[in-house]
């Protein structure tokens, strides 16, 4: 009876070895197959399409194809006043609309040379960090789902629901918030918001630990994510990655720390960076950022200063309604602001804010008047995805979904 030799079922290393050998010889392992991933594939998180050239199960070439969600936001912005564009920013990174609102408002305020009062700044910080938690939760949940762990996705949606309830209380909308105006906010904190937010933050700490327990030492999750999708420090900077994807590669760059805006310099928080730059490191960075965001939220919710939330400049920000109805001058200002928009000075500014996905930048060129002559959106997801064609080749097909998940992009922002 012939002896049967059982091979170790370690297909990954065997295939990788074969691939390396074949690559050294310059010969393909098998017949090349072109595979179309997306644009409507669950793991592409939207409408990303990647054309993969496969040699066996190994990706040899990846050509990303984007633009399926292109709406021409930049063209639209050139045809409306600054405040009219706020709702469009909701739809950039639609997982963190509040953060986009804040970033856009800050960019135009930089052009105007305005600084909003401390109370407004703290409320904006609260908005940004709630948005970051919500976006990171979904990013991690989707990554876990791509790796086969459905539970996490459902767990995080419970938490996001609570954040959406806070959004609803604060802005009146759960999804498309449009909360900021140039020079301030649409409304002040509603009664009971601070208590509800504090209660959320308090119980959410335990939920982070739960998430941590579910994933960080989960054998399957670790095996799927560790050692794939390496981005070197140099590559990460060269491609212009920002946010957790850059920090996962060990580069310390966080706009909140390095070019502080709002009153971020007054909060104590740390910026996690990765050590090797693989998908697992990017996941760990996001997880730690959740904790840091909670830390910032705690500090912000503890001392919210009293006072106005909007810039006092009566000619720049809509005057109070009771004054509009009783005073001539305010009525005129309101009329001009609504019909012609804020009168911006001639000049150009770039403002980048640390959004959940990376640095969301707005370049605004003004020729004066109420309408931007050119508004360019530097979308972090767009830049982060540009590394795909370099990152994917050499990986197994099944790793592609994990890498896409670990990059955590949003196509609404990428395609603009």
């Amino acid at each position: 009876m012939p002896e049967t030799i059982l091979e170790t079922p370690d297909s990954l290393s065997r295939v990788a070895q074969q691939f390396e050998q074949a690559k050294a010889e310059g010969a393909p392992l098998g017949e090349m197959l072109t595979l179309n991933l997306g644009p409507s594939h669950p793991s592409t998180h939207g409408v990303l399409r990647v054309l993969l050239e496969l040699d066996g199960e190994i990706v040899t070439r990846a050509v990303p194809d984007i633009g399926f969600l292109h709406r021409g936001d930049e063209k639209i912005a050139e045809n409306m006043t600054y405040n009219q564009f706020v709702p469009y920013t909701d739809r950039l990174d639609y997982l963190a609309p509040l953060a986009n609102n804040v970033a856009y408002a800050l960019a135009v305020e930089k052009l105007m040379g305005w600084t909003i009062p401390p109370r407004g700044q703290v409320i904006r910080v609260i908005c940004c960090e709630l948005a970051r938690i919500s976006a990171h939760l979904l990013g991690m949940g989707a990554l876990a789902m791509d790796c086969g762990a459905m539970t996490v996705f459902l767990y995080i949606f419970t938490e996001r629901e609570k954040i959406y309830n806070l959004y609803e209380l604060l802005t009146g909308a759960r999804f498309t918030t449009s909360y900021t105006r140039i020079g301030g906010l649409t409304r002040d904190l509603p009664p009971g918001f601070v208590d509800q937010a504090k209660a959320f933050v308090e119980q959410f700490k335990g939920k982070i630990d739960e998430l941590d327990n579910l994933l960080t030492r989960n054998k399957i999750f670790v095996d799927r994510n560790k050692g794939i999708g390496f981005i070197s420090r140099e590559d990460a900077i060269d491609f212009g990655l920002t946010g957790p994807n850059l920090r996962g590669s060990g580069v310390y760059y966080d706009v909140r720390k390095d070019r502080p805006y709002l009153n971020y310099s007054e909060y104590s928080f740390s910026v996690p960076v990765g050590s090797v730059g693989d998908a697992y490191d990017r996941y760990l960075c996001r997880l730690e950022e959740l904790r840091q965001s909670v830390h910032i939220l705690e500090q912000a919710l503890r001392n919210i200063p009293d006072g106005p939330i909007n810039v006092g400049d009566g000619k720049g920000f809509l005057p109070r309604k009771d004054k509009v109805l009783t005073k001539m001058e305010e009525l005129i200002h309101q009329f001009i602001l609504v019909t012609e928009g804020i009168q911006a000075p001639v000049g150009e500014v770039y403002f980048g804010a640390e959004n959940p996905k990376g640095e969301l930048g707005f370049y605004i060129l003004s020729k004066g008047g109420g309408v931007p002559y050119r508004l360019k959106i530097r979308a972090p997801s767009f830049v982060n995805l540009s590394i795909l064609s370099k990152l994917l080749p050499g990986h197994m097909m099944s790793d592609v979904v994990a890498i896409l998940g670990s990059l955590d992009f949003v196509m609404g922002e990428c395609d603009r």
Partner: protein
Amino acid sequence: MPATDAIASLQKQFPGKVGQAKEFRGESTVEIDREIVRPAAAYLKNELGYNLLLDISSIDYFGDEPRYEVVYEFCALGGPRNQEHLRLKLKISEDDPTVDSLVPVFQGADWHEREVYDMMGLKFNGHPDLRRILMWDGYPYHPLRKDFPLAGLPSDLPGEEGFSRPAPLEGGPFVAAPANHPPAIGDALTTINEPRANPAQI
């Protein structure tokens, strides 16, 4: 943080090719000649430490000559100039809308330049793969040019693989009264497609 000394060394390195620095809201902008964009970017990256190319955008000064402008946003990560921001601009004429690509210096310039090409129609010499990125291959216009109307222009849809018929509401976005749209994609169409003009038919 203004980058005055970096601009000074840039002017020293490329005499006569670098314009005067402009300051606005704490940001430095400098205009350079089109020919030196690649060596200037390499100099910024390798000698001055501006290793992060944040963004490339383009502006259309319709009616002026030179018509186009390309804007590069640099930022320094680490090093003595940590977090300094510098903006380079260069003018491009309408007759020869080309500029050297920065891909050999910054790999990340690839998609930014493709976007500028797609949206504004400027060509980048030496770009490895200059294709449209947001619009589909074969789309005939460059939508961010100022002479392109907001309502869009009719064009062939990308073949049978994409769509069989135009999506409803073609002609939007409606930020102005439909009748005021300069070249009508069909003013009648706009009205017909406007959902508020059509009560639900059940």
